[in-house]
């Protein structure tokens, strides 16, 4: 079982990074009697075998319901009884358990988490039950227009790249997953090298440190797997993917290209530039699309990060009859943003907002722990989270506008529109200048 661009090797050096078992992240605050626990691997769904996307997610869910030989019912009853919740979260770059519990039950909760991660049972009956539930959830998701539009958009943008493989899987890929895949995947994901630990809230600190050590001892040494795909390739020209669904009075529009990653020297500057373009309620997109024209209840743009270049995306959801002019306007706004950049006044306003509102990124112990965990999981530059305010303050107008021009490619875009093709398909195509290619897919296609 292998994935592209994967390197593996036996690790001999000791693990002493922040978040590791020897240095677990602990953010104590007893204001509310709740304890938060995150136990996560530095590797995620990129390890899914090719054609078996969704395997890591199935693995986590199977582990969550089978620790210490319990049945799924027994596991759920136990967690509820102690006043806890434990969820499995899988992204391309991490897989882990994240949960919380009423402080009086933290010992029992840590035991439960330990048993889920270190003592799961891979019973064929429960595996098949899980597969059927996962397939039913895929059908359920067909009702979520926004998620469908984003699914097809990501698939096209990262076509041929590991980032284009859906972490949740598709019905077809979920049907291919076998129990042996999960057993093998577990050995690769959950090793001492990969695991990171964070505890927050009304936590008993010695108990948390002891728990991290206990996890460490129970996990295999394993090999450090560095999943390091090449940078994704910029799309060629403007491509439209029309997702056809009957009776849509409203459309979902996603426009975008490749964005940035945390080690990218343009990352902070692009983050500031995006705040002006589509990051707040008074952003250019919101003013032009919502405030002036009332075309969409909301519209925004985002530049999230991953280990490699992530996506830059814009999103709007106008009524069907406004979809073509709204799309046209969004493209014009994008072109103007890239060509002319932002103004000194906009930069000052964005910096003020980002600097002052940062207080809400760190106002609870759980949020502070999550930021530190991200720093460890994503191998962010040392002090990345702690230096946020300084980095934002240091960004210049030239840097922002250069970053936008360098990273955003208005002539090379993937545009996805979910709507009823018979009613608006032709108008949508006509609204995209220099459209290079167009395709139509059914909303329920795999």
């Amino acid at each position: 079982m292998s994935t592209p661009n994967e390197e593996a090797g036996t690790v001999t050096r000791p693990i002493t990074e922040a978040g590791s078992a020897s240095q677990p992240i602990v953010e104590a605050d007893r204001a509310v009697p709740l304890v938060h626990v995150s136990i996560a691997s530095k590797v995620g769904s990129l390890l899914d075998p090719i054609g078996k996307e969704g395997a890591a997610r199935m693995l986590m869910r199977l582990m969550r319901r089978s620790g210490a030989g319990r049945s799924a019912e027994q596991a759920d009853e136990l967690v509820d009884r102690i006043g806890g919740h434990l969820g499995a979260e899988v992204t391309r770059s991490t897989a882990g358990f994240h949960g919380g519990v009423i402080a009086r039950s933290q010992a029992a909760f840590l035991d439960f988490t330990f048993e889920s991660l270190c003592q799961p049972r891979f019973a064929p009956g429960e595996f098949e039950q899980l597969r059927q539930e996962s397939l039913a959830e895929c059908t359920e998701r067909l009702d979520d227009d926004r998620a469908r539009a984003r699914h097809f958009w990501l698939r096209k943008l990262f076509s041929g790249h590991p980032y284009g493989r859906p972490s949740g899987g598709t019905p077809e890929s979920l049907r291919r997953v076998e129990l042996s895949d999960l057993e093998e995947l577990r050995e690769r994901l959950f090793t001492r090298q990969h695991m990171r630990f964070a505890f927050a809230g009304a936590v008993d600190e010695p108990m948390a440190r002891e728990a991290a050590a206990r996890f460490h001892e129970a996990l295999p040494v394993g090999r450090e797997v560095a999943v390091d795909p090449a940078d994704p390739v910029t799309p060629n020209g403007r491509t439209l993917v029309f997702v056809d669904k009957p009776e849509r009075t409203q459309t979902q529009i996603v426009i975008g290209c490749l964005g940035t990653h945390a080690h990218d020297e343009d990352h902070t500057a692009l983050h500031v530039g995006n705040t002006v373009f589509g990051g707040t309620f008074t952003s250019r997109l919101m003013q032009e699309v919502r405030a002036k024209r009332g075309w969409s209840y909301g519209t925004s743009s985002a530049v999230p990060f991953d280990r490699r270049r992530q996506a830059f995306s814009m999103w709007a959801f106008p009524q069907a009859s406004d979809a073509a002019p709204c799309l046209e306007l969004e493209l014009q706004l994008l072109e103007r943003w890239v060509k002319d950049g932002i103004t000194a006044r906009e930069l000052a306003a964005a910096k003020k907002y980002l600097t002052r509102s940062h207080a809400f990124a760190v106002d609870t112990a759980q949020k502070r722990a999550a930021l530190r965990l991200d720093e460890s999981i994503y191998a962010l530059p040392p002090g990345y989270q702690g230096s946020y305010l300084e980095r934002v303050a240091a960004v210049t107008l030239e840097q922002v506008n250069e970053a936008i021009r360098r990273r955003i490619t208005p002539e090379h875009l993937v545009i996805t529109v979910l709507g009823t093709h018979a009613e608006i398909g032709a108008r949508i195509e006509a609204a995209i200048p220099r459209l290079a290619s167009a395709e139509t897919v059914r909303f329920d296609a795999d």
Partner: protein, 451 residues
């Protein structure tokens, strides 16, 4: 703050207070372990609930108006919600959008919401910006500017919101249909967002009337949680709101919903791949002691994967992929609603048969103590999770204050839960789970999208 210090502070403040800015301390209310809410009232009727929280250098500032969609009338539904949108447009002395720009410059995260019984506006901001935020909120309470272009644009926005939440959303559309079918006379029968034709028809006159009637200090409660001293807070609020006069509030004219006579059933086709079932029973008001009991019954039935319906419908029989149940947290009696989404190839009637078996079981035999313990623990976890931020605390306090006039009610409920006996739940099940007083909505997939 000691009583003596507070008396001295109020004497000092009231000596130089603006016209309606005199303030009195009404009560001190225990809010969980070691925390207290202080209740104040200003001369113009504005109430202030203050909860100090010095765990982070931030504040939450919520303004709760005692007006929601229950105060509308047929033909004018959705006005409370549309008005919530208009409150972000223009105030005297500030151009359109100026309100939000100033908030963002302060690092504030702001939002608003409207429901059946209330409309609320909220800001969370770093310590040090209180005077700016209070000043802006006071200005829009008193000097909002309503003009035709902004109204036209905002109506479009709200119609788009309706398309997102109702027209193109199966659960939203079905939920709206359930309440419309279940109620005959009470205003809970129309959706908070309003009927599309009503939204289209609103004029600036409608909006101005609504503003003058309901947006007044004596119809509002401020909830402030965070890192600020009582003295600074009272001085700031008196300065910001002290010149705003009270208004004459209309007497609420609502007819209680008559007892339902017989089961109601509707079927609809929707562009969804699977069948769905929504059931609404008559439920108690939030202030009724039975509300807590019915909430626990719904936890037993649908709360999480260890619940009875999840075990049977999702795991044992593989009939359903998703389900939920709740009892409306409203001022007047509303609905207990149960939603189930079928798996491919299964009918809503199959779901109904199993749901009925489990409901009958609740009526036929008492719930065991272990299940009550689990339901109680889940409820406690839910409450505590909502209290981790200043904003979460302000939301909790504002909601219970506005609906019940008891800001610490969630802790009262938590205490009451510890004394719930199986017999209490049994009685509640017998009282409320009556098939002759329920409404059913069955959703069929349109042929072209059936899975």
């Amino acid at each position: 703050m000691s009583e003596r210090s507070r008396t001295s502070l109020l004497e000092r403040l009231n000596a130089g207070a603006p016209r309606y800015g005199k303030v009195e301390h009404l009560e001190s209310i225990e809010f969980g372990q070691g925390a207290r809410i202080e209740r104040y009232r200003f001369e113009n009727g504005l109430e202030l609930l203050y909860l100090p929280d010095h765990s982070a250098p931030v504040l939450a500032y919520h303004t709760w108006f005692r007006v929601g969609s229950r105060h509308e009338r047929p033909g004018k539904t959705g006005l409370a919600h549309l008005f919530e949108h208009l409150m972000f447009n223009e105030v005297e002395g500030l151009p359109p959008g100026g309100f939000d720009r100033k908030m963002e410059a302060a690092g504030a995260d702001n939002n608003a919401s409207t429901w059946l019984d209330f409309t609320q506006y909220q800001e969370a901001f770093p310590k040090g910006q209180l005077a700016l935020v209070a000043g802006l909120e006071a200005r829009r309470m008193n000097t909002l500017v309503l003009q035709q272009p902004q109204l036209d644009s905002e109506k479009e926005v709200v119609m788009n919101e309706r398309r997102m939440r109702v027209e193109d959303d199966v659960e939203g559309a079905v939920d709206e249909l359930l309440w419309k079918t279940a109620f005959d006379v009470h205003p809970y029968r129309w959706p908070t967002i309003g009927w599309m034709s009503d939204i289209e028809g609103f004029t600036t006159g409608d909006c101005l009337d609504f503003y003058r009637t309901y947006y007044a200090p004596n119809n509002a409660c401020l909830v402030v949680v965070g890192d600020v001293t009582e003295s600074k807070l009272l001085t700031t609020i008196a300065g910001a709101y002290g010149e705003i006069p009270p208004s004459t509030l209309p007497i609420e004219d609502i007819h209680p919903e008559p007892r339902q006579q017989g089961e109601r059933r509707v079927e609809v086709e929707k562009p969804t791949p699977t069948e769905k079932l929504l059931i609404g029973y008559r439920g108690p008001a939030l202030g009724d002691p039975d509300h807590l009991l019915v909430s626990l019954l719904m936890e037993v039935l649908c709360g999480g994967r260890a619940s009875r319906l999840h075990k049977r419908l999702v795991r044992e029989l593989s009939l359903a992929s998703d389900l939920r149940a709740s009892v409306g947290p409203h001022r007047d009696p509303s609905l207990i609603d149960i939603f189930v989404s079928a798996r491919e190839g299964h009918r809503a009637e199959e779901l109904l048969a199993i749901v009925d078996e489990e409901l009958e079981r609740l009526v036929r035999e008492p719930v065991g103590r272990e299940e009550i313990e689990r339901a109680t623990a889940r409820a406690e976890l839910g409450l505590l999770s909502g209290l981790e931020t200043a904003d979460g605390k302000a939301s909790t306090i504002g909601f219970y204050e506005t609906v019940l006039r008891r800001p610490a009610a969630p802790f009262e409920r938590l205490r009451a839960m510890r004394w719930v006996e199986p017999g209490d739940l049994w009685r509640a099940a017998r009282r409320y789970l009556r098939s002759e007083e329920r409404t059913l909505v069955l959703v069929r997939p349109q042929a072209e999208v059936a899975a």
